[in-house]
Symmetry: C2
Subunit: 277 residues, 2 copies
């Protein structure tokens, strides 16, 4: 069988009988280690029979792809593995080694329930209600949120309050965030709640400035007021760091950090059970 | 070395020099296949030197744990692997096989940049702004969101509009959602936008009813109005399905589906490039 440009571009074929999240994460992490290599991710979800597998396998063979399998259906997995061996296709059955190890230790077999980690358990409903909580209490909409929240995020504009709330909400935490503006009164309740659940977000003045200049451009306003704006940014940052000291709360710098990283640091530092682990 | 109850409980040790997302996903998916096995996940992030690794390894040995490694630092990975071999600890270096395969094909080595997939790229800023968009246009707050959105979600109460918006926002899509209430006027703009980006959410009457009864309980109200409420739910579901037909939009049933599954189906069905793959 003729194989196309094996060295110029790498085609990954993710085949899953669920949504292929695990394999996607793995592929993305691996690919990120090769910034100069061109890669294409082909993802095939809900694959449950040989007929649909065959089509993918034919295409993968033509492109000499790398197959990443997350299948709980053993028969289908074996069928694909056999095809790969016969056609000299590279494949990785990602969960198999760990599943085998658990089986060995417990002498129990896997349940083979497709997408088992997406079970509609009580935990799941809790997570949905956490997400709704985060929407309701974004941007200081209601100071009552501060009392009920698992995590309270504080920060001046452009310190990633909203994306962090969403990400943590997705993990199952009830997050309320409060924008800090020197001219506004701080709600009294902030000094009454447990400071151990408060996180003061900070960042560098240049990052805030960059964000704000971009905003000015979006709004079609001149960027000439740069100096004044740098002064203003520093005034706001100073105001927020003084408040954080007064509260005695955790401070996290979001400059140069991704949402995932900042969220992980927050969950670990606050000593919370990481619900989405 | 004495090993504690190897068969009653399995301790997983995730060791990562980044935030350990890939290993967590893998561990959770594997564990979900063994609902009757008791497992504990220990996650150690930002591990970059032998000293911090040693502490974890000592604990893992005591509990006869299973180690899941995602380390781009080869020297540290080898150090841990050697320790595991010597102490007969089970370990899986999760990314290694895929990294090796890419290296073999391209004769390039991995960049060894820790947390490379969390790069603060342009794509990343786009994602943050998508998340902010979703917060802004949740719950029909502003019909202008329908025009700018990548995805418009419609649905009666309790069809998972908000969690789906958050999850898709996290993936990088700008989502606006609009609650459907038979008594309310549908914004005219809904009939002017591309129906190919509209998703009508539906669910089963029993799911909605269950959710609403739980709500009643939360509010301390009696649940006796069950029949009337079932009638009401069916009236709302009928109203929404008639609207979906008129719009000619995609219809997704969220009953018995997790947020991840519904989101994947939406992205695939709308033919969108899956940004978070």
């Amino acid at each position: 069988m003729e194989k196309q440009n094996p060295n110029n571009k790498i085609d990954f074929y993710i085949i899953s009988d669920s949504i292929g999240e695990t394999a996607s994460k793995l592929a993305k992490a691996a690919i990120a280690q090769f910034p100069t290599v061109t890669t294409v991710l082909h993802k095939f979800m809900f694959i449950s029979n040989k007929e649909s597998a065959d089509e993918i396998l034919k295409e993968a063979t033509k492109r000499n792809g790398i197959l990443l399998l997350t299948l709980v259906n053993n028969e289908l997995a074996e069928y694909i593995e056999n095809y790969c061996v016969q056609h000299k296709l590279t494949y990785f059955n990602i969960m198999k080694p760990v599943l085998n190890e658990i089986t060995k230790r417990t002498s129990k077999g896997p349940s083979k329930i497709v997408g088992a980690q997406h079970d509609l358990s009580e935990e799941y409903f809790e997570r949905v209600s956490a997400m709704e909580f985060c929407m309701r209490y974004d941007d200081g909409k209601d100071p009552n949120g501060l009392i009920e929240a698992d995590i309270v995020l504080l920060g001046i504009s452009r310190t990633s309050k909203t994306p962090l709330s969403m990400y943590l909400g997705n993990m199952g935490y009830k997050v309320a965030n409060l924008p800090l503006i020197p001219e506004n009164t701080i709600p009294k309740v902030l000094f009454e709640i447990d400071p151990k659940k408060i996180v003061g977000l900070t960042t560098s003045d240049t990052v805030v400035n960059l964000h704000r200049e971009n905003r000015m451009k979006e709004y079609g306003l001149p960027s000439g007021t740069k100096y004044a704006s740098m002064e203003r940014v520093n005034e706001e940052l100073k105001f927020s760091s003084e408040l954080y000291q007064k509260l005695g709360c955790l401070v996290v710098n979001t400059a140069e950090r991704s949402i995932e990283e900042s969220a992980s640091i927050i969950v670990q530092s606050l000593g919370l059970t990481n619900k989405a682990w």
